[in-house]
Each structure stands twice: as structure tokens, then as C-alpha cells.
């Protein structure tokens, strides 16, 4: 994992209206790495995440792309989708292939990508079902297929295992891990579930406006001052 970074945060300060919510963050994300972003509610995870996605402007610093700007695959929470829309699964997956003004061109030729992606996550049989009618686990697989269909080098996933039971959550994370390895895909996952996240993560970004920001491996994070201040001293019971 010593290749050129896909993405580099350089003294990146995130916030709203010019007001920072977190200290500066420096980190590099390389192909195939599995990052987990952890922190308590209100710790700035969503703000940091939306800044990385380009949905918010940084307060200062920048997000650089050392290999050139690459497409990002974004897997939002399932509640982010408007369920009034009766969109069939194959069309949801095909959305992953859209870029810029591509929707003005005929969509032909995307069928193979959609079939391959759905087959890879074991959801081909769902192709003609409406997305809104699927179970939470099925929706998650469809969104992973959309992520693959985007052919991005890096994917950002917002609470991908929310509302899942422990077994489904472990299966989902294992599937993510498998896709990451198969496609050399860099994953950045926001998660509240420390136990599962720590089992799969290569690197952790720990955010806490009070005690600080830490970046490192699982072992490094667990030894960090910020982590210890937040969890070992105050909330030891929730530690993995």
C-alpha cells in the first residue's frame, strides 16, 4: 500500500459559514485502503465527509488528487433516497455510470456494467424490482452494485450498516472488504459501530471537536491521547 495516494487532505479544515468545526486534518488515501471515520454524534463526521465529497467547501486547506481528479462513488444512507420514485433496481445501479452531462446521451452500453455489478453483489435477481420495495439488506447490496458500476477508484459510504442486525452488518462489511480487495478500491466508511469497523479497517480517522483529531492504524488510534481521553477515561465500556 505504498503507491501514490489517490487523495490527499492538506491541512483540511471543515466547517460551516467559514467557522471550523474540527482541527486541521492531514491524511493520504491510497488505492485499496479501508478507512473508517469514527466519532460521536455531532463530532463533525458528516461535515468532513460532505467536504471530501465536494458538497461543502473547505474552511481552509484543500483536497488534492495526486493521480488526477478521479470519480468518487458515494453510497449515502438509504434514507437519503426519495422513495416516492418507483425506480427499478437496474436503473438505480445505472445511475452510478452517470457523469456530468452524460444523461443527455443515450444510455445504451451501460447494460453490461449493470449486469456485472449486480451479479457481483448477488443481486441480479432483483434487477426488475423497485428499489423502494427492497429490504434494508437488499438495498445495501444494490447500492454496492451502483458503487461498482461507477468504476470509481475511491468510494465514500455513509453509515452503510445502519439499521442492520449484527449478522447482517458483519456480512455487509465482509462483502465490502471483498469488493475492496477485488477492485483495489479505496473505501472510506463512516460508522458508529466500533467493534465491526475496527475489525476491517486499515486506517482510522477519529474526529472529536473537544479532544482532537487522530489519524492512524487501529493500534495507533487506540494508543492516541485523543482516543484515550474520549473512550478509555470516560466511556471505557464502549471500547472494542
Amino acid at each position: 500500500m505504498s503507491s501514490t495516494p489517490l487523495l490527499r487532505c492538506e491541512r483540511l479544515v471543515v466547517g460551516y459559514g467559514g467557522r471550523p468545526v474540527l482541527p486541521p486534518v492531514d491524511l493520504e488515501i491510497r488505492p485499496g485502503e479501508f478507512w473508517v471515520v469514527v466519532g460521536r454524534n455531532g463530532s463533525g463526521k458528516t461535515t468532513w465527509f460532505r467536504t471530501l465529497l465536494g458538497l461543502l467547501s473547505p474552511v481552509s486547506g484543500q483536497v488534492a488528487w495526486p493521480q488526477g481528479r478521479r470519480p468518487i462513488a458515494y453510497v449515502p444512507q438509504r434514507s437519503a433516497f426519495d422513495e416516492l420514485y418507483p425506480v427499478p433496481v437496474r436503473e438505480v445501479v445505472a445511475m452510478g455510470a452517470e457523469r456530468g452531462w452524460s444523461f443527455l446521451s443515450p444510455g445504451g452500453g451501460r447494460g453490461d456494467r449493470v449486469r456485472q455489478a449486480l451479479t457481483e453483489v448477488g443481486a441480479w435477481e432483483l434487477r426488475d424490482r423497485n428499489f423502494r420495495a427492497l429490504s434494508e439488506g437488499q438495498k445495501q447490496r444494490v447500492l454496492l452494485a451502483r458503487m461498482l458500476c461507477s468504476q470509481a477508484g475511491i468510494a465514500l459510504l455513509d453509515e452503510p450498516t445502519a439499521a442492520m442486525d449484527a449478522v447482517a452488518e458483519e456480512e455487509a462489511m465482509a462483502m465490502l472488504d471483498g469488493l475492496r480487495r477485488a477492485h483495489n478500491l479505496a473505501l472510506v466508511v463512516v460508522s458508529h459501530h466500533l467493534q465491526v469497523a475496527f475489525r476491517h479497517a486499515d486506517r482510522i480517522l477519529f474526529l472529536d471537536p473537544e479532544v482532537g483529531v487522530e489519524v492512524g492504524t487501529v493500534a495507533e488510534i487506540q494508543q492516541s491521547e485523543a482516543w484515550r481521553a474520549r473512550y478509555q477515561d470516560r466511556h471505557a465500556g464502549v471500547l472494542p
Partner: protein, 283 residues
């Protein structure tokens, strides 16, 4: 004693007279039906209501300017100007005022409706036109209004179909669309402008009530009846066209106001679609 019900031959015999309003109703119904799928899915139903009401006020003000101010303003221009202004107001971020968009829409709708009636009261010789504008009682359509509906309708339908995939993506998952570089804001504004312009020209020709009905009811019926979104667009266009044409026929044979018949016909499609959805269940 009720007047005798006209025969089909009477309608066919006077086709030259009825042709333009029927074509206008069919065209406006089809295009607004197509756009209405986006309107319903994006929860913009009361945007369409407000725009049609404000367009009616624009037409009334154009008459008023011509009669009392000596300034000839084409009514369709009055409708366009005011509805575009309303569209700008509707698209403003109201969060700083701590009021919902519904409240803004209700304010505009009520102001426009009240003002249209007040203006209509001061232009007595055009009072019939005002009633026609607001409720769609006009039996005839002027050639220039028909041309406007056909021209704008062709442009809007082509644009909405061409950009259809982008409009659906931007409505279904706006953040995902933004991340992938889709021009979400431009798509939102384009849709609002398309609805505004089509509503304005159609309101001048047909009246606010049927235009609001065409913007909502065929799309709602189609979304109830079909399983997948891609079929909702052609079906909504078809049902809108049928509501425009059959509504006119119903008005002719039953001696009712045209706009009301077109609105009720479109509403009947919704009632027919409900059991279809219930029978299908599931998705």
C-alpha cells in the same frame, strides 16, 4: 326545461369551430401531464397551483393595462412575466425567514387569486375573460394562443424527455447526483422554468383550473397505475391528452364549462387508477 343534448353530428358539423380548442386542450394536457410526473414526484404540486393562479392574475393585469392605462400588453406576456416572478420567489431560500415553502406558496396563491378577482371587477367588459382565465370557461381558443401552446409545448416536451434521466437522478438522489458532477441546480431551475412557461401559455389559452389539473392529476394517475417510472411519462402524457380532449367533448354534450369538465375528467383517471394500485399491491 333542460336544453336538448347535442348529437355527435352537431359536433362534427361544427368541427372547424371546435378544432383549435380541442387541439389546444390535448396538447396542453399531454405536455403538462409529462411534466407533471416530475411535479408530483418532487412535491411541487402547489407550485403548479400557484403558478397557474399567478398566470391568471398576469392575464387580468394585461387586460387592465389595456383598458385603463392605454398600454397594450399581450395577455400571454402578462402571464409569463408574473409567473416567472413567482417562480423566482418560490425558489428563494425561505429558511432565513423561518417559514416553510408551503406558507410562501399559500401567500402567493391567495394574493394572486384575490387580486385577479379585484382586477376583474374593474374591467367589466372583459369579465367573461377573467372567469375563463381563472376557471377555464372559455370555449374558444385564439390562433395565437394555440400556436404558443404548441410551440412552447414541443420545446418543453423535447427538453424534458432529453434530460429525463438527469431530472430523475437529481430528484431521486440529489447528493449522489451532485457528487457525480450532474448540474443539479441547473436541472432544478430548468424544470421550474419549463413548468412556469408551459403553465403561463396554457393558462392564457385554457384557464387556471384545467392547467393545474393537467399538471397534477394525469401524472398522479399514471404513477398509481404503473410499476416502473419509465412507463409513467408516456402514460401521463396520454391521460393528459385524453383529459383535454374528452373534457371538451363532455362540456359540449353536457353543456358544462370546459375547464371544469377537463379537470373532472383528469380526476376520474386518478379514481380509476386507485383500484389498479390496490389490486397490484406490493411495490
Amino acid at each position: 326545461m333542460n336544453p336538448p343534448i347535442p348529437a355527435w353530428a352537431d359536433f362534427v358539423g361544427a368541427w372547424d369551430l371546435f378544432r383549435d380548442p380541442v387541439i389546444c386542450g390535448v396538447a396542453a394536457g399531454a405536455v403538462l401531464g409529462l411534466l407533471g410526473v416530475h411535479v408530483v414526484l418532487r412535491r411541487m404540486v402547489f407550485v403548479a397551483a400557484t403558478l397557474s393562479q399567478v398566470s391568471g392574475l398576469g392575464v387580468a393585469l394585461a387586460f387592465f393595462a389595456g383598458i385603463h392605462l392605454g398600454t397594450e400588453v399581450p395577455p400571454v406576456l402578462g402571464a409569463l412575466a408574473l409567473s416567472l416572478l413567482a417562480a423566482v420567489l418560490v425558489s428563494l431560500d425561505t429558511r432565513r425567514l423561518r417559514v416553510s415553502r408551503d406558507s410562501v406558496l399559500a401567500t402567493l396563491w391567495l394574493l394572486a387569486g384575490g387580486l385577479a378577482v379585484m382586477v376583474g371587477d374593474r374591467i367589466t367588459q372583459e369579465a367573461h375573460d377573467i372567469a375563463g382565465i381563472l376557471f377555464g370557461t372559455a370555449v374558444l381558443v385564439r390562433p395565437e394562443d394555440l400556436r404558443a401552446v404548441l410551440g412552447v409545448g414541443a420545446l418543453v416536451a423535447t427538453g424534458a424527455t432529453w434530460a429525463g434521466r438527469g431530472l430523475v437522478f437529481a430528484g431521486f438522489d440529489p447528493d449522489g447526483a451532485r457528487v457525480q458532477g450532474l448540474p443539479v441546480r441547473a436541472l432544478d431551475v430548468s424544470l421550474l422554468v419549463a413548468v412556469t412557461v408551459m403553465v403561463a401559455v396554457s393558462t392564457r389559452a385554457l384557464g387556471a383550473l384545467p392547467v393545474f389539473a393537467f399538471s397534477v392529476l394525469p401524472a398522479l394517475a399514471a404513477l398509481l397505475a404503473v410499476r416502473h417510472l419509465r412507463w409513467a411519462f408516456p402514460l401521463a402524457a396520454l391521460l393528459g391528452a385524453l383529459a383535454g380532449g374528452l373534457g371538451y367533448l363532455a362540456a359540449f354534450f353536457l353543456s358544462f364549462p370546459v375547464g371544469a369538465c377537463q379537470a373532472v375528467t383528469a380526476g376520474l383517471f386518478v379514481l380509476l387508477a386507485v383500484p389498479v394500485r390496490l389490486a397490484r399491491g406490493g411495490e
